[in-house]
C-alpha cells in the first residue's frame, strides 16, 4: 500500500481531497503531521525477517565477491550509496573513485564545488535536523549556516558558496529557504523524545570483507511504541521534488537496515520540502528483494575495467 498526500496548497484549499486518503492509512487524519504516519501501531513485524536478512546478505555477498574478483583484490573499495546505485550508469566512476570511499568513510557526501541545488539541499537538511531536534527555527538562513559551521569541515564548500553570493542571490536563497522551512514546520512537529528520534543515522554494510560497502543515511529514525515488536519508522527528506528517487532510496535504506539489524523499519515515510507532498508506506519483503536484485545487477553490470582504469 502506497499512500501519497497531495501538496500542501491542495490540502489547505480542499481538505476533503486529503482526508479520505489519509484515513486509509490509520483510520484518522494525522494531527501530528507526517510523523503520525510513522507511528501507527497496526503494522506487525514479520517474524521471518531474520531469515530473510540472511538470505539477502548471502545474495549480495555472492555478487560482491564476483565484483571483487573482476576488479582485483588490490583495487580500492567500491562504496555504493543510493546516488550511485539508483542514479545514472556513469556514477560507477564515482563509486570506484578512492576519494569517494574516503569521503564516505568520513561520513561526508558533499560534492565539491557544490551547485545551487546542493547548497539548498544542505541548508534545508540542516533546518530539518533542527526542527526534528528542538522544534523551532529563528531565521532559516542564519540557523542553517550556523548549523553547518558547527558541523565542521565537510560543510566548508557550501558555506563558501553562500558567502560568495551577491545580495540579490542571497535574497533569493533566503526566500526559497524560507518557503522550504515553512513547509517543514507545518508538516514536521518535533518528535516526542520517547520516540527516540535520531537524525542523520548512517548505515554502512561491508561486503566481501569490506571491498564493497553499501551505505546510506537515514534522515530520521524513530522507534515504535514500547512493547513487543518494538520497531522503527524511517523518514526521508527530499528538497527537489524527486519523489520516485527518494522512495527508491528509502527502499535501499530499508534493505541496509535489514542487513544491519535483521529487520527493516516497519514503515517508511517521505516528505518533500519543495512541494509539501508527503506519504508513507509499509515496508514489504518484495521491496527488499527488488532492491537486492538491483544492487546485485549493478555490481554484475558495472564496467569495472573502464571505471578503475583497467584494474
Amino acid at each position: 500500500m502506497v499512500l501519497v498526500a497531495p501538496p500542501v496548497t491542495q490540502r489547505q484549499g480542499g481538505g476533503a481531497t486529503a482526508a479520505p486518503v489519509l484515513r486509509v492509512i490509520d483510520g484518522r487524519a494525522p494531527a501530528g503531521g507526517v510523523l503520525e504516519l510513522l507511528r501507527t501501531d497496526g503494522v506487525a513485524r514479520v517474524p521471518s525477517w531474520a531469515g530473510l536478512a540472511g538470505g539477502l546478505r548471502a545474495w549480495l555477498e555472492d555478487a560482491a565477491y564476483d565484483a571483487v574478483r573482476a576488479r582485483g583484490e588490490e583495487a580500492p573499495p567500491v562504496v555504493l550509496g543510493a546516488r550511485q546505485l539508483l542514479g545514472p550508469a556513469a556514477a560507477v566512476h564515482e563509486a570506484a573513485d578512492p576519494r569517494t570511499g574516503q569521503r564516505a568513510a568520513a561520513g561526508a557526501c558533499e560534492p565539491d564545488p557544490p551547485d545551487d541545488d546542493v547548497v539548498l539541499a544542505r541548508l534545508v537538511r540542516a533546518l530539518f535536523r533542527q526542527i526534528a531536534t528542538v522544534g523551532t527555527l529563528d531565521d532559516p538562513l542564519h540557523d542553517a549556516c550556523d548549523a553547518l559551521r558547527a558541523d565542521g569541515g565537510g560543510s566548508g564548500a557550501v558555506l563558501r558558496r553562500i558567502e560568495s553570493l551577491t545580495p540579490a542571490e542571497r535574497h533569493a536563497l533566503r526566500e526559497t529557504l524560507g518557503a522550504h522551512a515553512s513547509r517543514l514546520m507545518e508538516l514536521l512537529p518535533r518528535p516526542e523524545p520517547d520516540w527516540r528520534p535520531r537524525t542523520d543515522e548512517r548505515v554502512a554494510i561491508p561486503l566481501a570483507g569490506g571491498r564493497v560497502v553499501l551505505h546510506g543515511v537515514f534522515d530520521l529514525l524513530v522507534d515504535a511504541p514500547e512493547g513487543p515488536g518494538r520497531a522503527r519508522g524511517a523518514l526521508a527528506l527530499s528538497t527537489d521534488g524527486a519523489w520516485g528517487r527518494t522512495r527508491r532510496s528509502l527502499h535501499y535504506l530499508a534493505l541496509l537496515e535489514t542487513l544491519r539489524s535483521g529487520a527493516p523499519p516497519c514503515r517508511v515515510a517521505q516528505v518533500d520540502s519543495s512541494s509539501g507532498r508527503f506519504g508513507a508506506e509499509d515496508v514489504r519483503e518484495e521491496q527488499l528483494r527488488v532492491m537486492t536484485a538491483h544492487a546485485c545487477g549493478w555490481l554484475a553490470g558495472a564496467s569495472w575495467g573502464t571505471a578503475v582504469g583497467g584494474a
Binding site: A147, A150, D151, S261
Partner: protein, 275 residues
C-alpha cells in the same frame, strides 16, 4: 550484546603473567627512547595504531587537519555524558539527556566555573542553531549506544566513558591509552567508526594491554569488544597472551614510525586529561 556479560575465555594466570612481562619488556626500549626525546613525550592511542598500521597513505587532502571541536568530534563526549545520565536515571530519553548536558555547558561557562572545559566553552559560544546541530549529532550517537545494550544486565561494576592510561615506569614521557566507552568488568566495549580494517584487532588489543599493565594482580582483564554502529558488526579480542604481544608490537611500530600524535590541541583524542 551477551559478549559484554559472558565470561571471557579463561587463561592460566601464570601464562598471562608471562605474556604481560614479555609485553612490558618489549616496551622498555621505546620507553628509554622516549626519555631521551627532547621534543615532548609519546602518548600512544588506538588512533595512532590505526594510523600506523592501516592509514599508511596520506589523507586525500594531503593535509593533516589539527583537532577542532565540531558536531562530529563533540558527539562522543556529549553522548557519553548523556548515556551516563540515562544509566543513572537522571534522564529518561537521549534527547533529554543531551539537552541537559548542553545546558550544563552554558551554566558552567556563564557561571565562571573552573570545571568548564574547552568543549563547554566551545558549546557556549555557539548560536542556538549551532548548539542544536551539535545536540542532534550527540543524540544520534547516544541513542545508538543506548538502544544497543541491555543495561539492566550489565551489573553494578559499570564504568562509562573513562579512558585508562598506563605510564611507563621507565620514562615519564611514554604513556599508552586504552579507550573504551563501556566497561563491565567482563568486557570493554569500544565504539568503532570508519571502515573495517586489519588494524582493528591491534587497536582493541591496546585496551587489553593497558589493563594488563595497570593491573596490580595477575588476573586477566575482560575481553575487548569492538562495535561498529553503522553496520552492527562486532569484533572480539579475548584476553589471551597473543593479544598482548600484538598490542606491544603495534606500539613499538607506532613509536618506530614516529607517528604518535604529540601536537594535538588540548582535549584532543590523544591528549591525557588532567588528573
Amino acid at each position: 550484546m551477551d559478549v559484554l556479560v559472558s565470561a571471557p575465555r579463561p587463561v592460566e594466570p601464570a601464562t598471562w603473567r608471562a605474556a604481560r612481562d614479555a609485553a612490558r619488556a618489549l616496551l622498555i626500549a621505546p620507553s628509554s627512547a622516549a626519555s631521551r626525546a627532547r621534543d615532548g613525550g609519546f602518548r600512544v592511542t588506538e588512533h595512532d595504531i590505526r594510523r600506523t598500521l592501516h592509514d599508511a597513505s596520506p589523507p586525500a587532502s594531503g593535509i593533516e587537519r589539527p583537532f577542532a571541536w565540531t558536531a562530529r568530534t563533540a558527539r562522543r563526549p556529549l553522548g557519553l555524558a548523556a548515556v551516563r545520565a540515562l544509566v543513572a536515571g537522571d534522564a529518561t530519553t537521549p534527547v533529554e539527556a543531551v539537552r541537559s548536558r548542553v545546558a550544563e555547558s552554558s551554566r558552567l561557562v556563564h557561571g565562571g566555573s573552573h570545571r568548564a572545559a574547552q568543549l563547554d566553552r566551545w558549546l557556549a559560544g555557539l548560536s542556538p542553531a549551532g548548539r542544536a546541530a551539535v545536540g542532534a549529532e550527540a543524540v544520534t550517537w547516544c541513542t545508538r549506544l543506548w538502544t544497543a545494550v541491555n543495561w539492566d544486565a550489565l551489573g553494578t561494576r559499570l564504568v562509562i566513558g573513562r579512558d585508562h592510561w598506563w605510564d611507563s615506569p621507565h620514562s615519564a614521557l611514554l604513556a599508552l591509552r586504552g579507550r573504551a566507552e563501556v566497561r563491565t568488568g567482563r568486557a570493554d566495549l569500544v565504539v568503532l567508526s570508519g571502515p573495517r580494517r586489519a588494524s582493528v584487532r591491534a587497536e582493541l588489543a591496546l585496551v587489553l594491554l593497558v589493563e594488563a599493565l595497570r593491573s596490580r594482580d595477575d588476573a586477566p582483564p575482560g575481553r575487548a569488544v569492538g562495535w561498529w554502529p553503522d553496520s552492527g558488526h562486532l569484533v572480539l579480542v579475548e584476553p589471551e597472551p597473543a593479544a598482548l604481544a600484538l598490542a606491544a608490537e603495534a606500539v613499538t611500530r607506532v613509536l618506530a614510525h614516529g607517528k604518535a600524535l604529540t601536537s594535538e590541541a588540548p582535549d584532543g583524542p590523544g591528549v591525557r586529561p588532567a588528573a
